[in-house]
Amino acid sequence: MFTETLTKRVRRSSLLDLLTGPHGVDRYTELVDPTWTRGEGRARVVGVRRNTPRSVTLTLDPNRAFRAGMPGFRAGQYVNVTVEVDGRRRTRPYSIASGEGDRYLELTIGRHDGGVVSPYLVEHARRGLVVGLDSVGGEFTLPETLTEPVLLVSGGTGITPVMSMLRTLRARRHRGRVVFVHYARSAEEACYRDELALTAAEMPNVTVLHGYTREPAASDLGGRFGSDHVAATDIQPEHVYVCGPPALVDAVREQFPNAQSESFVPPVLTPQEASGGRIRFSDSEIEVDDDGTPLLSQAEAAGLTPESGCRMGICFSCTRRKNSGAVRNVITGAVSSTDEEDVQICVSAPVGDVDIAL
């Protein structure tokens, strides 16, 4: 019975593939509604809130393909979000702020000056925008059960994964002590201030403390994280989670060497001739030191035989997927650091570490 249904379904889907070939059914349905894809996780932005001057909070309604591929995320994990900016797809990891089991995904994105995706979203995100979603990941997660006191520390938009943890604990009707410490420039820039106040009011076991680096008078905590702040929490935490700028993570680690941490640091571009980086050919599991020449010649020097053609950047025979890292086009000099992008390896030289599907 089951196999019968399955065969029928397979038969139906292969007929559909034949009829919609060679493009595939998604390439037709997405023209009716861009979230109607079977093979690609996508989401529609159903809510946009600009609660602080330098951030935007998006509510995403993921399509079935995404929900089928990701039955549930764990509090603290991130998702890769793909946005098209000026015709170019850009993928960035963003921590999910919603609690475990929520149907919608909430992201709060802080403006990173000099960046591409975050300023775009902060300024231009609107309801109806469709974004790509894939690979939920991250080890910065809450355990299934916990009883001992928990300390959650965050700075700026690093609040999102710990917000997810707090929301999850709240949904679980968690009874243990939780102290939530958040640092922002000012009260105005502190994300989720109202919701945190509400949570603290409703849950006697939860304490929320704010530190405003530019408004010491309005702060619960003065200055940077240190032993005095630990004392102010009034708990001996068993679990410590910190997400924010590297300096904050370091300061927390100094007090709690076992603290779990997450910190997204944007890539630093140094467009120079010889980069001193490492190249990882991910398909063949080979790593070499960059010698400054295009990836194609370095791959060949490493004993690989990638498909190639003109070796002058016109035929695109050698185009490969760059998983991560920055490359410089040796003809135009243009540097590109987009993750998950196709590059012509014959004219792309590494700028720092590069991971390429070869």
Binding site: G21, P22, D86, G87, G309, C310, C315
Partner: protein
């Protein structure tokens, strides 16, 4: 796809991180000259360098400007094509009613033309790879025709675009079955030149599909059919699916109306075949388009490579719709100079290209389709004769 060409031993393998490693290696500087329509065109190495630089700059200006406009353009084109396809196929289900059959066939034919020309050919050139959308990327795209995309990328993007019009290297000079250059030695088989050309036109999608088989090399014993087993299986898989789709699955779905769907699909494929054949043959075969010898092009600089692309290509004049339906191959010259920039940009830069060519005294071959195609037909017939 590991064909090695003994004649291209200049493959750069040294490790100097300079721009030159990625371009054709400059050989000893030589003045090049060609006689076009009785006039000799000469380019000194210095002129060639300056000429190449001007074209490079033109390209960089376009590359720097790529963005949302181009993304919107190609997505609109895709939407138009898919809508024509769905609409055309739907109308053909009612094809027993003649106006439906005619409209459905025309729409499906147009859809296939746009899919192959303005979308497929151009996307597979990597013109939209900068967008990072796998559905519009050179490696990911597959088109609605018998030829498998990966084989096309090798024979067309690499062989034809790198070795354009070099007799003996560019298999698009006659496609291994026609005599399209006087430099191809005559043999009795070529008496059938006009007939072979006509058959190729009608069956164009299969001709294109079989291109990578290099059947002429199999016939001459240079290679064995065994060497081409993988290629053949790729062609077979793709052709099988295309045939099943157009000639079995869709007609069967129409039940009693199968004959109308079948003939509609057949006619739509024929329309696409004839149209793309005409456009493509007008790219490199009209009168005064130059061929080159391997010897002539052995030590080409980038500027000289541009020179060959221009003298080896011809444009077509026409309106906006004509350019779209030709996949902007009506700007064959611009396409051959910059095969990787979105083709809808070619019209915008053609004036500049023409102006640059004018200053260096390089002829720019262009004309309306009927005139250009007439010279192609004349060439096909003339070269059938032994004394040509």
């Amino acid at each position: 796809m590991t064909d090695t060409l003994t004649t291209t031993d200049e493959t750069p393998t040294d490790d100097t991180p300079t721009v030159e490693t990625a371009t054709t290696q400059p050989g000893p500087a030589q003045t090049i000259s060609k006689t076009v329509a009785g006039k000799t065109v000469t380019l000194t190495p210095e002129q060639a360098e300056a000429f190449g630089r001007e074209l490079d700059e033109l390209k960089e200006r376009v590359i720097a400007d790529l963005g949302e406009r181009d993304a919107t353009y190609i997505r609109r084109m895709i939407k138009a094509q898919r809508s024509l396809e769905v609409g055309g196929r739907a109308l053909l289900f009612g094809g027993i009613f003649p106006p439906f059959w005619l409209a459905g066939t025309a729409m499906l034919g147009l859809s296939k033309i746009i899919d192959n020309m303005e979308i497929g050919h151009n996307v597979m050139h990597g013109q939209y790879d900068w967008m990072g959308d796998p559905a519009i990327s050179s490696r990911g795209f597959e088109w609605d025709t018998a030829c498998p995309a990966d084989q096309w990328r090798h024979s067309h993007n690499y062989m034809h675009h790198t070795y354009t019009n070099i007799v003996g290297l560019d298999r698009d000079v006659g496609y291994g079955i026609l005599r399209m250059s006087a430099d191809q030695k005559w043999k009795p088989y070529y008496l059938g030149n006009p007939l072979w050309a006509f058959l190729l036109m009608v069956l164009f999608q299969y001709g294109v599909a079989l291109h990578e088989m290099e059947s002429e090399k199999i016939a001459s014993g240079e290679i064995s059919i065994k060497d081409k087993r993988e290629i053949l299986s790729g062609i077979w898989d793709k052709t099988k699916r295309q045939t099943l789709k157009d000639y079995v699955a869709f007609p069967l779905l129409a039940g009693p109306f199968a004959p109308w769907v079948f003939t509609g699909n057949l006619t739509a494929n024929l329309i696409r075949n004839v149209w793309s054949y005409m456009i493509i043959f007008c790219g490199h075969f009209p009168e005064d388009v130059q061929e080159f010898t391997i010897e002539e092009t052995k030590a080409e600089s980038r500027g000289q490579w541009y020179f060959r692309q221009i003298l080896g290509s011809a444009n077509l004049t026409g309106g906006k719709l004509f350019h779209i339906l030709s996949g902007n191959l009506s700007f064959q010259i611009e396409h051959h100079l910059f095969p990787d920039i979105p083709a809808h940009r070619h019209a915008e830069i053609s004036e500049s290209v023409r102006e640059i060519c004018g200053r260096y005294g390089i002829p720019y071959n262009t004309g309306p389709l009927p005139r250009q195609f007439a010279t192609v037909v004349r060439k096909i017939v003339r070269l059938a004769l032994p004394w040509t």
